[in-house]
């Protein structure tokens, strides 16, 4: 089976992966105000997700036991 290029413009992951910090960037000051806040929120989520990320890596080697035993919520 062959792999063909998709140009599915509704692929949010592909679009976001390009438009946020790539392309012609003037400087932060000119950028719309709420974008910054929104991005900060995303970054915060990433930090909070740090431990979750490691658990994902553990899952990558097939450690799925955690799914059956809810772990403490880290805030």
């Amino acid at each position: 089976m062959a792999v063909t290029k998709s140009i599915d413009a509704s692929s949010l992951v592909e679009v976001i992966d390009r438009i946020l910090d790539k392309g012609l960037v003037i400087d932060v000051f000119v950028r719309v105000s709420l974008v910054g806040i929104e991005l900060l929120a995303i970054e915060a989520r990433v930090v909070l997700a740090g431990v979750e990320t490691y658990l994902k890596y553990a899952e990558a080697i097939g450690l799925t036991k955690l799914a059956a035993h809810p772990h403490p919520v880290i805030v």
């Binding site: 063909t4 992966d17 438009i19 553990a58 990558a60 080697i61 403490p72």
Partner: protein, 253 residues
């Protein structure tokens, strides 16, 4: 009545001798600021608050993608806003030479994207096979009582993350390098999840597109048992805009 302030949302810069007709087919609210043989495509917006929603992100991209079908465009990053029309002219004036050079470098070229992601089962098998200490550690954890699993699982995750780096460089050698050899330019971007081992963008000459497709397919055939390929494009050349402009360059207009 007080006249409300307007802002100008920028999409991209194109080369055109006919700024009036270069927008045909696009939404009515789109306009251009011409300067010599360049034009900056923008739309007026009522306020400077814009959320990064799915709709806004896609709208930004779709307008640029539409223009790209007809001509080379330097796409602006999401959320670029000007206070005054004169600032847009100021940008085109101050950076005219650099913009022309960038457009020239992009002419007749395409951006293509490739993300490579390990299949879940295949990755677990590879990790257990190639890294026996990790396999043993995992089995130890599985024999622990459920309430003492959490800490060791994080530790295991950290070790898996470290070996994923090795797997990523393997993938770079086997998949990225042969493609990079055909491309005119290439970028490695941040990996978006734990099973992703390649997130690359390539700048490819239009007449090499078929050859590039064929090479992607050849690699896919070779690795499809283990890896998923997300091959996409042509994209506006978001990854290959090396212009960094300071607001001071634009001037007050």
């Amino acid at each position: 009545m007080m006249k409300s302030k307007k802002y100008y949302y920028a999409y991209g810069v194109i080369e055109t001798e006919e700024p009036k007709t270069c927008l045909s087919g696009l939404q009515e609210n789109m306009s251009v600021i011409p300067y010599r043989d360049l034009a900056l495509v923008f739309s007026e917006v009522a306020n400077h608050s814009l959320q990064l929603t799915k709709e806004n992100a896609l709208a930004h991209h779709q307008i640029i993608a539409q223009i790209m079908k007809r001509q080379t465009i330097i796409p602006f990053s999401f959320g670029t806003l000007f206070n005054k029309k004169s600032e847009m002219t100021g940008l085109l004036t101050a950076a005219y030479g650099e913009i022309k050079k960038t457009l020239e470098q992009l002419y007749g070229k395409l951006e293509l994207g490739l993300k490579v992601i390990w299949k879940k089962e295949a990755l677990a098998i590879k990790l257990e096979r190639d890294y026996e200490d990790l396999k043993r550690f995992k089995e130890e954890i599985l024999s622990l009582p459920p309430d003492s699993v959490y800490g060791p699982a994080i530790l295991l995750g950290q070790r898996v993350e470290a070996v994923m780096k090795e797997i990523q460089s393997e993938c770079q050698e086997q998949i990225y390098s042969p493609l990079q050899a055909i491309a005119l330019d290439a970028r490695l971007n941040k990996l978006l999840n734990e099973r992703m081992v390649l997130n690359a963008a390539f700048l490819v000459s239009r007449d090499q597109e078929t050859r590039f497709d064929a090479m992607v397919n050849e690699l896919y055939e070779q690795y499809q048992e283990q890896l998923n390929f997300m091959y996409s494009g042509p994209w506006p050349p978001y990854n290959f805009i090396n212009l960094k402009l300071d607001r001071h360059v634009i001037g007050r207009g």
